[in-house]
Symmetry: C2
Subunit: 188 residues, 2 copies
Amino acid sequence: MLYPEGVLIDGMTGAVTPETGRYSKRLSGLAGIFQDSSAFERAIFDEADPLVYEVIDYRKPDSDLFFGTTTMQPGKVGVEYYMTRGHFHERRDRGEAYYTQSGVGLLLLESRAGETRSVAMCPGVCAFIPPDWAHRSINTGREKLVFAWFCATDAGHDYGQILQRGMRKLVVEQNGEVAITDNPNFRT
Amino acid sequence: MLYPEGVLIDGMTGAVTPETGRYSKRLSGLAGIFQDSSAFERAIFDEADPLVYEVIDYRKPDSDLFFGTTTMQPGKVGVEYYMTRGHFHERRDRGEAYYTQSGVGLLLLESRAGETRSVAMCPGVCAFIPPDWAHRSINTGREKLVFAWFCATDAGHDYGQILQRGMRKLVVEQNGEVAITDNPNFRT
């Protein structure tokens, strides 16, 4: 039997209380997603394998809906900003909502057919992610980027496709500004 | 084809931009849910049928998930605070999340089997509503109560049962404090 509960979401730290699980990604766990592999190796060494992001959830398997937070540190690897691995949902009929609580970033999306979109992430903006759009979050700011997400419990994560092929667009710093560019190494 | 979009949720006003629909409930639209029917009639007359709450949604029928806001005015009818109609979802396997943005209130819940619970609503608290628990929001404060909600698009609303029977608990002001009491008129 499931019971209602008040779950505190701290929009500054990403803490979820009570939480049911969490994982974190240090830079070494993100091999292959950044373009500049020597900058990647150097950053792991020079910055002692820095934390890139942390995901905390409140998940009750018998509920259709679950939620949680993702907290992304600021940082770059070469000209690319810290990003999440990016994923499709295993279930193609499952979307998601990303409600930014603090910090600024970009949500990069790609439909199954290869259309690309981005949504600016800033406090108060709830990004609507339709079913079957791959999505990757990028912290383009100098502070933590914290967003609360809401998703069907059975959506599932398919990380493999984005890991193998990359995404069609990159988010980079160009002349001190955030720019979206084509990914020269994207493989169809 | 559905496309991603950034949807601004204003946690102070409840505005959703862009929005796909809205409705509002004035007091006259809430006949039968307050215990004190003469206080109810008087409030409609004296306060010119005041606004009690407004619901604004961002709903894409082809998406599995939708979201929006509910903005509740502060007020009372007799000793009872302003409340929503309260509902079960038509689909018994669909829960919901209520993420309070501003103001304070109580979320009153009742399982299909008749168990009762409440969750305090205040900024930062995301109330987990399990599938098949009826839920009603009550503004117990002096300011607007604004919460963002996230729900399966196909959940559906069953208002009839709560309208007919009421809920087992009431939320009232007692000696200047918020109190949860038994509903003497609850009908099983």
